[in-house]
């Protein structure tokens, strides 16, 4: 990483509209920049000139050098103004920051990925990694929940993965019309049907905190112990380097100790309200 406090200009190579409020930016470094290296699970601070900066997970393939991909949901001042950005525009990038999904540790084991909503974005690099190294892992299950069928992120990719014979993909929605033939209900309901052995699985979980809380219970019911469950936490972040104090989660700084935590290492504070 160059200077961790100073954003470097990246040019927007492509803007893809994903959902009504969600878009993906493919960014390339400007000038004589080196390749951008990151590990699945990490995030960048994205700067929109004069507006501000936001922490956004990297949602692209760590195997693709020289480009970094972010999927952004327009929910605040900075992300809403970023929604107006077009190909050729520039954003600032600081990073990559934070801990990573345990891709090496999971080798030789079943991998179960449980996510909800835009939580699929920080897990997509992990999925790419598993698929690129498919032989190193046991059974692979991707369980995804969204509010409605039109809120399903990366739908084409999910369908493509679903068509593979070496990955099982299950999606569910909270509510749907008659054109939906899939599951309806919360994502935790998919776990008992997931094609994995709970006693030999590593679980990667990302979604709203309440979803992750219930997912941990459901994983435990399947025999997955808390030291094999990894969750990605979200907190307010300003600096990403442990100076601003905003992202504290008990004694942890989510920016540098997280965002990915092994669940048994945070479970004492995870259930405390307003920690």
């Amino acid at each position: 990483m160059a200077d961790p406090m100073t954003p470097e200009p990246f040019r927007i190579e492509r803007v893809s509209r994903e959902l009504a409020d969600t878009f993906t930016l493919d960014l390339v470094p400007v000038g004589d920049k080196r390749d951008f290296d990151f590990q699945p699970g990490q995030f960048n601070m994205l700067y929109h000139f004069g507006v501000g900066e936001v922490p956004i997970s990297i949602s692209g393939d760590a195997g693709t050098k020289g480009r970094v991909t972010h999927t952004v949901r327009a929910v605040g001042t900075v992300t809403e103004s970023m929604a107006d950005l077009k190909k050729g525009d520039m954003v600032g990038v600081r990073g990559p920051f934070g801990s990573t999904w345990p891709m090496e540790l999971a080798e030789g084991h079943d991998v179960v990925i449980v996510t909800g909503g835009i939580g699929l974005a920080p897990l997509r690099p992990a999925i790419y990694h598993v698929l690129a190294n498919r032989g190193k892992y046991g059974r692979v299950a991707i369980l995804y929940g969204a509010r409605t069928p039109s809120d399903i992120l990366y739908r084409e990719e999910l369908e493509a993965w679903s068509a593979r014979l070496d990955v099982s993909v299950e999606a569910t929605v909270d509510t749907a019309g008659t054109d939906w033939t899939g599951n309806v209900g919360v994502v935790t309901k998919l776990l008992p049907r997931g094609n994995f052995d709970g006693r030999d699985a590593v679980a990667l979980v990302c979604g709203p905190e309440v979803m992750m809380r219930f997912t941990v219970h459901a994983l435990n019911d399947q025999g997955v112990t808390n030291d094999c469950i990894f969750v990605s936490m979200e907190r307010n972040m300003k600096c990403a380097v442990g100076f601003c104090g905003h992202c504290q989660f008990g004694s942890r700084f989510v920016c540098k100790d997280g965002p990915v935590f092994r669940f048994d290492q945070i479970e004492d504070i995870f259930r405390v309200k307003g920690i």
Binding site: T6, P9, R11, Y47, G50, M90, Q248, V272, G274, I275
Partner: protein, 378 residues
């Protein structure tokens, strides 16, 4: 704690010598910052000479109470700590850290480091400890705050040993005072008897020794007599002995074990969430950033400002504020200060300066809150 400034090598200067020291540092290019009386409080602002210092003023401090009183004494350092802390200079309340300029469809960004050369005069032992704790925060093993260390490394530190404790002090129980034993360039102890008013002056660094040598050239320095050293030690000892408040030794464990406790609801009925405690705390380091542009939108700046965990915005993420309740915000602050700080930085986060007690509008006392938590275990 290792003794860095040896009292054995100490010399004695008078008020003229102190004045000469201030002027010497100013001549060397330092902005000398020291205690002075403004708006009814001792604040840390630029000083030009010994006449700017608060001679004849003492402070009366208690929970939610601060008054300066005129005393019949020429003592300069009879006051203890006021609402300002040295973080005001080393990690300023507002600092521009980045400047960006539009260039065609893109922009360029440059880092901004503003690092004046400060001489900090009158740093008490608790505040000296606080500076060392902030050093740890801004060099956390993964990242280094360049701006902070640019200011910090230039700073010339003149410590003052406390010869009086304020009503809210509890540095003895935090093992951080009242004697400054390490981390200064020069250490001062005021000695005031019926017949003389002098300062025992010890060097704690090479820079400090050079400053004493300069003062010697100006004939401002006398050898310290055994009686001077004894008088200084006695005065500091008396300050330690007169300290009324103390922190429980098991505060870190108590807070870690009581994240759910009825006391949090109780303190929330008194706490105004005003953030005063975090602003006056010498170790609180939290900040936010503001990105602003000029009117044409051609240049942009990022300003880093002090922030407080007592605001709703502090923990806001999409969907709501994490610490929505006042009880959770108070719990976060005190738990961070006294417990999780140890996990994060392997040091204490509180130095016992008592400012948070004095400047709390309703007089919430950090030592009392820990004591109460210990009384009623859940």
């Amino acid at each position: 704690m290792a003794k860095c400034g040896s009292a054995k090598d100490a010399v004695v200067i008078g008020t003229d010598g102190l004045d000469a020291l201030i002027k010497l540092l100013a001549k060397d290019g330092y902005d000398v910052i020291g205690p002075r009386v403004e708006s009814g409080a001792v604040v840390l602002e630029p000083v030009d000479g010994v006449d700017d210092l608060p001679a004849g003023w003492a402070d009366e401090q208690d929970g939610g109470h601060y008054r300066l009183t005129k005393i019949d004494s020429p003592a300069i350092f009879e006051h203890v700590v006021g609402p300002h802390t040295w973080k005001r200079y080393l990690s300023p309340p507002a600092q521009t850290i980045l400047r960006a300029r539009k260039r065609g469809k893109g922009f360029s960004v440059e880092e901004v480091v503003d690092a004046p050369k400060y001489a900090l005069l009158g740093v008490r032992a608790c505040d000296l400890k606080a500076i060392s704790l902030q050093d740890r925060v801004f060099d956390n093993g993964d990242f280094v705050d360049k701006g902070y260390f640019a200011r910090r490394n230039k700073a010339f530190v003149i410590a003052v040993n406390c010869t009086r404790a304020a009503g809210t002090c509890f540095c003895v129980s935090m093992n951080s005072g009242p004697e400054a034993s390490c981390g200064f360039d020069l250490g001062l102890t005021e000695i005031l008897t019926k017949t003389k008013h002098v300062f025992l002056l010890a060097a704690g660094s090479e820079r400090g020794r050079k400053a004493i040598a300069e003062l010697k050239k100006k004939k401002q320095v006398k050898a310290a007599a055994a009686a001077d050293r004894a008088a200084a030690a006695k005065a500091v000892d008396a300050a330690a002995k007169s300290m009324k408040r103390k922190m429980r030794k098991d505060a870190a464990r108590l807070l870690a074990a009581n994240r759910e406790h009825p006391r949090w609801e109780e303190v929330a009925t008194r706490c105004l969430s005003c953030a005063n405690c975090t602003m006056v705390c010498p170790t609180c380091f939290c900040s936010t950033v503001e990105d602003v542009t000029d009117l044409k939108g051609k240049t942009a700046e990022r300003v880093r400002r002090w922030d407080s965990c007592f605001t709703h915005d502090f923990s806001y993420i999409h969907g709501g504020t994490v610490r929505r309740l006042r009880s959770s915000r108070y719990r976060h602050w005190i738990t961070h200060k006294l417990s999780t700080w140890h996990d994060q930085f392997q040091t204490q986060g509180c130095v016992g300066c008592g400012r948070c007690i004095t400047w709390c509008p309703v007089g919430i006392d950090i030592t009392e809150e820990v004591r109460e938590l210990g009384k009623r275990r859940t």
